[in-house]
Amino acid sequence: MAVMGLPFLDCFLNSKGQAQTGGRPLPTRFGTFFWGCGLTHSLWIPKKAGTDWEMTTQLKPLEPFRKKLNAFSGLRVPLDSKPNGQHWSGLAAASTGIAPARSGEFESKTIDQQVAEVIGKGVRFRSVAASASGDPKQSYSSLGGSNALPAEATPLSLYLRLFGAGFQDPTKGDWKPDPRILLQKSVLSAVAEDRHRVMQNLGAADRARMDQYFTSVRQTELQMEAELQRPTIEAKVAIPEAPSKDILVNNAWPNLEVVTPLMARLGAIALATDQTRVFNLSVSSPQNQMFKPGDPLGFHQSTHEEGVDPKLGYQVRVAQYNLESMQLFAALLKELDAIQEGDGTLLDHSVVMAFTDQSYARIHSVDGLPVLTAGGASGRLKTGYHVAGDNSPVSRVGLTLQKALGVSVDSWGKDSLQVRTPYTDLLA
C-alpha cells in the first residue's frame, strides 16, 4: 500500500497560500481516536503550561507532532446526580458533553456526528468508524441512544467499505458515474415513499426506531448522490490494491501494532480523496483488553490488580500500556501528516480528538480525564499548547473544536457540563 506525496504545484495556490480547487477551499476534516483506561498522571502531564511545555514520558511518542498538538490536563467531569458508570461516563461526557444516565448509551449524538452534519455533507460517507482490535461494537460514534454506528473490524472490511463497490477512483483520469447507482437510487426512493405505510399502527418507541430507519435510508440516498459526482481532490495519493486476505485482528499488542497503522492509512486516504470527512478510530474497548504476549493480565486487569510501585508511585506495567496507547495514536497522526495537500498536510487540514474513559483507571476516576487534539483545522485552531489545570469541564474542548470546525453552536453540553466559552486563545 503505497501513498505517494508528490510535489505540490504552486500554481494552484492562491495569494494567501491556501489551496484552491476551482475556487473551493480544501475541506476541513474531523477525526477521533479512542483508547481505553487513560494515562498515568505523573507521567503524561507536563509541568509547564502554554507552548513551552517540556516533553513527558507518555507523550513522547507524539514528539514528531508536538507543534500540531494540544494537550488538556486537569479537565473536570462533573456528573451531577448521574452515576459514575465505570468505563463509560468519562468517554460519554467527553464526546457528548452530557453525563449519561445509563452505561452503554449516549444521550445525544456524539461530537463526530454533530460535526459531520456540518462538514460531512455531499461526500459518500457521513462518517467512517474502524476498530483496530477487531470488534464492530468498539465504536464511540453514535446518533444517540443505544445504537452506535458499527465500526469496520478488519483492514479488509474497512478497505471494501471505502474502496469496494460504489467507489470510483477520483485519482484516475477515466472517472465516470456508475449507471447502476441510478437504478439503486430509484429503489431507495421507492423505499422512502413507504414511510407513511410503515409508520401506521406503531407505538411511540417503535415509531422512533422506524424514524431512525428512514433517516438511514435517506443517508444512503445521499451517499449515492455523492457517488454520482466526481470528488475534487488536491492530494496526490494512490488508492492501494485490495488486500488479498484479512489479517488477524485482536487485542494482542503485536497485532494492534500492525493493524492500527493499516487502518489509519486507509482512513487517511479516504479523507484525502474526499470519500468522507470524518474518521473515527478506536484501538480498544473502554475496559482496554490490550495485552502483551506473556503478560497474563493485560491492560485493564493490570489497572486493578497491579500494585503501585512504592518508589515510583505508579503502576509500572500499566504505564507501559499507556505509552503504547500513545504510540498507536502517533501511528494515526503519522498517516495523516504524510499526505500533502494544498499548503500543508492532511493533518493540518484536520482536527483529531483523542479521548479516553478514565483519568485513573485503578479507581475508575474521571476528573482529570486526558484529552489531546492534533491538527490545526486549516488554520482555525492554534496548536502546540498545553492547556493546564484550569478546572474547565471536559466539554469545553468539544465546544472549542466545534467552533474551529465552523459548527454554529453557542453552548454545548448539559447541566454542569454545559459550557458557553470555548478556549478563545486557541481559536484563530
Partner: protein
C-alpha cells in the same frame, strides 16, 4: 428445498390495504444475522450468497435476542442491508437462476404485468411473512414497470422491485401484530405473527408454506391448529437449528468473538479453536436435550461430549477416529463436569493468559442461575485483594479477602466460590493440579453447601432449583423478546417441564401451545427503551 420451488401451491394476495383499525404492532424485532441468512437460503435457495456485514446486537438481561426489540438500523447498517439487497436481487434475476422463478415474461425487453405480479406476490409473501396488500403489490409492480420501461429489460425491473422488498422494514424486522383476543379485553397475536414467531423460535428461520397456509386459513388461532403446527415443527430435524440459536445466545457463545488468548503462554490455542469449542458445546447441548431427550440438569454433570481433532489436542485425548466429530466420554477421574468444564465456558470467561475465578463465577451465576452481578464500587481499593506482594499468597487467599468487606462480600461470596471450584482448569480449559507452584485448592462453599471441584459444582447446579428455572425463564424471554405479555402465567408450562423430568421438549411445547405465549399488553411507551432521542 427452497420455498420458491414449491411455487404455485400458495400465492396471490389478500385484499387488505392496511392493518385493521383495532390491530397494532406490539413488537418489532430486527432480524439477526442467522435469521437473515436462513431466510434467504429458504426463500431463494442455498446457492444465493449473502455477502455483507450485519450490525451487532447488544446483550440485555442475559440475551442478545432482547436487544433486537429496541435496536434500529443505523446508516451504516442500512448501507450494508441495501448493498446485500441489490446483490441478492441481482443473483435471483441472473440468467442462471431465472428458470426457478414462478414465470417468464412473454418478451424479455418489455414489462409483463401478469408475470411481474406473480413473482412479486410470491416473494412478497415469503419475505414479509404475510401477503402483500393490493396497494403494496401495485406499488412494487409499478416500480418494476418503470425500470423496465427505462431500461428495456424485464429482469432489471424485477431486480429493482425484489431489491426494494429486501430493504423494507417488513423484511428486515419481524413484526408482531396484535388484535383483540376473544374476551375483548386482552390482545393476542394475529395468525401470521404466530406463524412467524413459531418458525423463528423453533427453526430459526422464516415460516414455510405450510405455516403460511395455516396462518391464512386461521388455524393458527385455534388450539387444535396451533398444536398441530407446533408438533409438526418440533418433529422436524430443523428443531436443532432453532435450539442451537437459543443456546448460543443463552450461553453467550458470541463472547468468543472478542476473546484472544496469549500465544506465548498458551501456544496450543490456535486459529479455529473458538469455532470448535463453540461447536462442541452446541453439539453437547442439542445432543442431550433433543436427540437423547435427556434431563436438562444433566448438562451440568454429563461427561459425554463431542470432539474434533483440534479439541482433542487441547483436552489431551487421543483422537483415533475417522470423521470430523466424534462422541466421547471423559473418564470419571477427569474432573470434567458437563458444559461447565468445556473449553468454551472455561476460556471465554478468563483473561488472555490467566484464569479469573471472579469472571467465571459472575458469568456462571448470570447464565445458569439468572443472577446478574452489579459493577463493583468505583473507588474500591483493590490493593489488598490483588497485590501479589501482600501477605496473602495465593489468588484464593486474596479473593477471600473480599469476605472481610461487607460491600464486596455481597457479590463475591456468590461469584468467587463458583469460579474457584473450576481452578483446576486453566485459561484455555486444560486440566492442571498446580498453579504458580502451589497445589490447586478447588473447594468451595455457597450458602452453607460445600463441594469440591468442577464435579462438585456441577452437582450443586444440577440440584439447584434455580438452574432449570433459569433455563425456562431465558427461553421464555428469548421467545417473547420485547413483547410485554398480558398474562405472566407460566406456572402450568413450568409444571409440565418439571413433571417431564426437565425435558427441553416439554418446556418448548408447553410454551408454544399455550395461548398466553401469544398474548400481549399494549406496548408501554414509557417503559420501552427508546433507541433514538
Amino acid at each position: 428445498m427452497a420455498l420458491s420451488v414449491m411455487l404455485g401451491i400458495f400465492g396471490g394476495t389478500v385484499a387488505v390495504d392496511a392493518l385493521a383499525a383495532d390491530s397494532q404492532v406490539v413488537n418489532l424485532r430486527r432480524l439477526t444475522e442467522k435469521e437473515y441468512r436462513n431466510s434467504i437460503a429458504d426463500i431463494f435457495g442455498k446457492e444465493i450468497e449473502v455477502r455483507g456485514t450485519f450490525e451487532p446486537t447488544k446483550r440485555t438481561n442475559g440475551l442478545a435476542a432482547v436487544s433486537t426489540s429496541f435496536l434500529s438500523v443505523t446508516p451504516v447498517g442500512f448501507e450494508s442491508f441495501s448493498k446485500m439487497a441489490s446483490d441478492i436481487a441481482a443473483q435471483v434475476t441472473a440468467e442462471s437462476y431465472r428458470a426457478k422463478l414462478p414465470c417468464a415474461p412473454k418478451n424479455l425487453k418489455a414489462h409483463d404485468e401478469a408475470c411481474s405480479s406473480k413473482i412479486l406476490a410470491h416473494y412478497g409473501l415469503l419475505l414479509f411473512r404475510r401477503p402483500l396488500s393490493g396497494a403494496e403489490l401495485d406499488n412494487r409492480v409499478g416500480l418494476a414497470r418503470r425500470i423496465t420501461e427505462q431500461s428495456g429489460d424485464f429482469y432489471a425491473g424485477l431486480r429493482s422491485s425484489l431489491s426494494m422488498l429486501l430493504q423494507l422494514p417488513d423484511f428486515l424486522f419481524r413484526s408482531e401484530v396484535a388484535v383483540p383476543a376473544g374476551d375483548g379485553k386482552q390482545l393476542t397475536l394475529d395468525s401470521y405473527s404466530r406463524a412467524t414467531l413459531l418458525s423463528f423460535l423453533l427453526w430459526n428461520t422464516t415460516p414455510d408454506l405450510e405455516l403460511l397456509r395455516a396462518a391464512q386459513s386461521g388455524e393458527m388461532n385455534t388450539p387444535a391448529g396451533l398444536t398441530k403446527q407446533v408438533d409438526r415443527l418440533m418433529a422436524s430435524p430443523r428443531l436443532v437449528a432453532g435450539m442451537r440459536a437459543f443456546f448460543e445466545d443463552m450461553l453467550q457463545l458470541d463472547t468468543f468473538d472478542t476473546v484472544s488468548k496469549d500465544s506465548l503462554l498458551y501456544p496450543k490455542w490456535g486459529s479455529g479453536m473458538a469455532e470448535s469449542a463453540r461447536e462442541e458445546t452446541l453439539r453437547t447441548v442439542t445432543g442431550l436435550a433433543l436427540q437423547d431427550n435427556g434431563d436438562i440438569r444433566d448438562l451440568m454433570t454429563t461427561r459425554q461430549t463431542y470432539l474434533d481433532r483440534k479439541l482433542a489436542v487441547l483436552y489431551r485425548v487421543p483422537f483415533a477416529f475417522t470423521g470430523d466429530w466424534v462422541k466421547y466420554e471423559f473418564p470419571a477421574d477427569s474432573g470434567r463436569s458437563g458444559i461447565l468444564t468445556q473449553i468454551s465456558m472455561l476460556s471465554m470467561f478468563s483473561h488472555p493468559g490467566r484464569t479469573s475465578p471472579t469472571k467465571r463465577g459472575v458469568a456462571l451465576a448470570d447464565i445458569f442461575l439468572c443472577l446478574p452481578t452489579p459493577d463493583p464500587p468505583n473507588d474500591v481499593d483493590f490493593a489488598e485483594v490483588n497485590d501479589s506482594n501482600s501477605r496473602l499468597k495465593t489468588l484464593r487467599q486474596r479473593l477471600m479477602a473480599h469476605a472481610n468487606n461487607k460491600v464486596c462480600a455481597a457479590c463475591h461470596d456468590r461469584s468467587d466460590p463458583l469460579g474457584l471450584s473450576l481452578e483446576a482448569f486453566d485459561t484455555i480449559g486444560g486440566y492442571r493440579t498446580m498453579d504458580n507452584g502451589e497445589p490447586i485448592d478447588a473447594s468451595a462453599t455457597i450458602q452453607g453447601r460445600s463441594f469440591i471441584g468442577a464435579q462438585g459444582l456441577g452437582q450443586y447446579l444440577h440440584d439447584s432449583p434455580r438452574y432449570p428455572a433459569c433455563v425456562a425463564r431465558r427461553l421464555h424471554s428469548y421467545g417473547r423478546s420485547g413483547r410485554r405479555w398480558a398474562s405472566e402465567d407460566f406456572a402450568d408450562t413450568y409444571k409440565a417441564f418439571q413433571d417431564s423430568g426437565f425435558r427441553l421438549r416439554a418446556l418448548l411445547r408447553g410454551m408454544a401451545v399455550s395461548e398466553s405465549f401469544y398474548s400481549s399488553a399494549p406496548p408501554a411507551e414509557a417503559e420501552k427503551k427508546v433507541a433514538l432521542k
